[in-house]
């Protein structure tokens, strides 16, 4: 493969990785393996490096620069930013959940005791609209 094609392949891997990850965030197999995008950027950087080994041209350096930048950013997000430090576990399986009353968007109170003896409850704690 020529140096130009390797550079194009490297940039292509970067673009496809970003597109696939952002479009398929709703698919658990994609969302739950964020290390996948880090690995893909590492492959892109390796391919760019191979191209540069063949011929040292501006497009090779561009591909290497872009893929290394994405690899650094992706590694930082996945291994540093997204990491949640260990915290003491409060909830214990087999013990009653702490009771609470919170309000919904319409201001109506929702209380855990509303469901006692009625229905199982699935509590989903999340950060906001995403």
């Amino acid at each position: 493969m020529t140096a130009g094609r390797l550079a194009a392949l490297s940039l292509g891997i970067c673009v496809i990785t970003i597109a696939v990850y952002s479009m398929l965030l709703g698919v658990p197999a994609v969302r739950n393996h964020p290390e996948g995008y880090v690995a893909a950027f590492a492959i892109a950087a390796t391919v760019a490096g191979l191209g540069l080994a063949l011929r040292r041209r501006w497009y090779g350096w561009t591909a290497l620069g872009v893929s290394m930048l994405l690899l650094t950013l992706g590694s930082y997000v996945n291994f540093v930013l997204a990491r949640i430090p260990d915290a003491p576990m409060v909830l214990r399986v087999g013990e009653p959940a702490p009771p609470f009353t919170l309000r919904d968007a319409a201001g109506r109170p929702v209380s855990l005791t509303d469901y006692r003896g009625q229905k199982p409850v699935l509590l989903v704690f999340y950060r906001g609209y995403w």
Binding site: L25, G26, P28, R31, N32, P34, N78, A82, R83, I84, P85, D86, A87, P88, M89, V90, L91, R92, V93, G94, E95, P96, A97, P98, P99, F100, L102, R103, D104, A105, V110, L112, T113, Y115, R116, G117, Q118, K119, P120, V121, L122, L123, V124, F125, Y126, R127, G128, Y129, W130
Partner: protein, 110 residues
């Protein structure tokens, strides 16, 4: 939200009717509620603006928000009819959420 949509799709109509999904976040939840209504799934979105309940549940990501604010750590907790904790899913990476299939399995095991 993405994991809530996946969950709605993974549960049967009867299962959705037999369980209450209560989604807790610090935000005003009007937008989330509209989206869930559009999907015709019966989720209740409730706001915990000062994170008091989230803190009581031990589900805080300390300093994980913008400007070092505390934010909830993504977590899913299944309570049985008597309000007893039966299944907990916690992640150590906020990009990772429970697979809806695991949640469905826990619901069916009640």
């Amino acid at each position: 939200m993405a994991e809530l949509q996946g969950l709605g799709a993974a549960l049967s109509d009867a299962e959705r009717a037999g369980i209450e999904v209560v989604a807790v976040s610090p935000d005003e939840n009007a937008q989330s509620q509209r989206l869930a209504d559009g999907l015709r799934v019966g989720y209740r979105f409730v706001a915990d603006p000062d994170l008091a309940v989230t803190r009581r549940y031990g589900l805080i990501h300390r300093g994980g928000g913008p400007g070092g604010r505390d934010v909830p750590r993504p977590a899913t907790v299944l309570l049985d009819r008597d309000g007893v904790v039966r299944w907990v899913s916690l992640s150590d990476n906020y990009q990772v959420r429970p697979d809806p299939r695991d949640v469905v399995r826990a619901v069916r095991a009640l």
